[in-house]
Amino acid sequence: MSTIGGVARAEKAQLPSVAVSMRRRPPLPLQPGQLVLYIVLIGYGLFSLAPFLFAFSSSFKTYAQVLSWPPSLLPNPATLDNYRFILSGAQLFPRYILNSLIYAGAVTVLNVLLASMAGYAFGRMEFPGKNFFYLLTLAVLMIPSQLILIPKFLVAYTLHLTDNYGGLIVPAMVTPTSVFLMTQFLKTLPRELEEAALIDGCSRFRAFWQIIFPLVRPAVTVVALLSFQGAWNEFLWPLIVMSHQENYTLTVGLAFFKGNYVTQYNLVLAGAMISIAPLVIIFFIFQRYFIQGLSTSGLAGR
């Protein structure tokens, strides 16, 4: 199973290679074929953006206005009441946001640290069992998460990791995807980097921490972004593992909020915007790395 195209492809690809596509091209005169091309591209761009923009604008509408027909593009009058209602604390939303931030923040930091350590061992050291565990990592990438969902919950339950942050963070603190990305990147760094230091008697730990870790920034960025995105968006696992309402993450809280305020779309949309906004901001700042990571792993988008 480990020979599935995505993995085999990514083995070959190196993280910085996507930069090639970013090069500037000389200006060209616009031909009819090109005109069609741009019309299609702009059309699909609008198709991608429109639901977000319309939802964003409607999150400032009043209840009466969000139900009006025909729907208006812009809110009139624009009101912040929806956000005020949601963030007032009566709805536990501030708590959901905090929970999601702690969950996603911890998972991000731990993945960067622990996956770069594992990647260092897989990518730059020789030891018995290396191939076995690395192949296992690749195989695990292909296992549907549904298969292990229930036993994973039972294991978490046995370890007292339900209904607390530990239950969210520990199973996700170093994912096979992060380890895979880190290993692939660390393999590409020249072996000479730490060789001299090792011969001089420097320990592996110091070599990792002082020589290699500062050099893995591109991979760190990718792993950090994908880990944050994964945890921030995760729904099923927090739904299962958390039972008290004050422990819900933002996604779970939103799903239940929708159940209680079914037709109050103005409120539901404001909630959705709060969930989307941080990622959109991070995405636009780091979009190049996001896309590099996804092109390399081809897996993380699931």
């Binding site: 091209r25 061992a121 292990i148 229930i150 978490a156 939103l254 081809g298």
Partner: protein, 320 residues
């Protein structure tokens, strides 16, 4: 296997035979211990939450496990017989699987085509390629729950989508309340969110195709259409396999969108009930953990078989 490699290592002149093997082994031992220290947190997570979990899932599928404090009761194949009965008597799991198959065929076909189409467009000489790629990718990176809430609103009878249709003088249906449109509505939403991820995979693969192939074809008088079907599509086969396989694995497990938009029971009339929702219901509402594990295992076997078939027919070796 590593031991064999170290034995075969050249060097080690006979004069130093006494001290060298010991030294080498000690260094090797330190290196091994260090490596496993680096790996320890990862191996803990991998072994506890994945490997043990897989073994537990298989074992529990032969037990009656009530989530509580009762001891599991050995059940033999009764959980599997139960599933068989469900499948042959149009039970919920049968409905869930049927919907999953329909959903996967629809989603994977359309999203793969769309992903390839978008990648081919962006692989042209385009100004602002990075800009378009970012915009196209936006739906793929946002949370499935938030997106589902937005589309729950857009799909309302008086919602944005029916308004756009009304501009074209089409009377839109009550998308989410009609059993014949509810699942297709979720399909469209999912194609919209997932296709851009696979577009990126295609785009990366397209950039690996050597331009000399196209130059040679052009010299031989091939037109763009022929080059697409004779060069691009065949050379993309490994990527297409990955896109189709990953897409199917994801689609078979659909949960979030249907759960958020249609609720746990997959309304209307079970038309949006998926296998994953049935498993969730069996395990956490009906508290039948053993049966849920058996259902999950059946789902896994189906996904695995589908992946193998796809490997066989899409990723077949091409000969030139």
């Amino acid at each position: 296997m590593q031991l064999a490699a170290s034995k075969a290592r050249p060097g080690g002149p006979s004069g130093t035979r006494r001290s060298l093997p010991f030294k080498v082994n000690r260094r090797k031992l330190t290196e091994t211990l260090t490596a496993y220290t680096f790996l320890a947190p990862y191996l803990f997570v991998l072994i506890v939450f994945t490997l043990i979990a897989i073994v537990t899932a298989l074992t529990l599928s032969f037990f009656y496990v009530d989530f509580g404090f009762t001891t599991p009761i050995f059940y033999g194949f009764r959980n599997y017989l139960n599933i068989w009965y469900d499948l042959t008597h149009d039970g919920d799991f049968a409905a869930g699987l049927r919907n999953c198959v329909e959903y996967t065929i629809g989603v994977v076909t359309l999203q793969t085509t769309l992903a390839l189409f978008l990648a081919l467009l962006l692989n042209q000489k385009v100004h602002g390629r990075g800009f378009f790629r970012t915009i196209f990718y936006l739906p793929s990176m946002t949370s499935s729950v938030a997106i589902s809430l937005i589309f729950y609103w857009l799909y309302q009878p008086q919602g944005g989508i029916n308004y756009v249709l009304s501009l074209l003088h089409i009377q839109g249906p009550a998308w989410l309340e009609n059993p014949s449109t509810a699942l297709p509505a979720i399909m469209l939403l999912n194609i919209w969110t997932t296709a851009p991820t696979f577009m990126l995979m295609y785009l990366a693969a397209l950039q690996d195709i050597p331009s000399t192939l196209y130059e040679a074809a052009r010299v031989d008088g091939a037109n763009s259409w022929q080059m697409l079907w004779k060069i691009t599509v065949p050379l993309l086969r490994p990527t297409t396999f990955a896109v189709v396989a990953l897409g199917s694995i994801g689609a078979f497990q659909m949960f979030d969108q249907a759960f958020v938009m249609e609720g746990a029971s997959g309304t209307p009339l079970r038309s949006t009930l998926t296998a994953a929702m049935v498993i969730y219901d069996t395990a956490f509402q009906k508290s039948l953990m053993g049966l849920a594990c058996a259902q999950a295992f059946v789902l896994f076997i189906i996904i695995f078989a589908v992946t193998l078939l796809q490997k066989r027919y899409i990723d077949a070796n091409i000969q030139y």
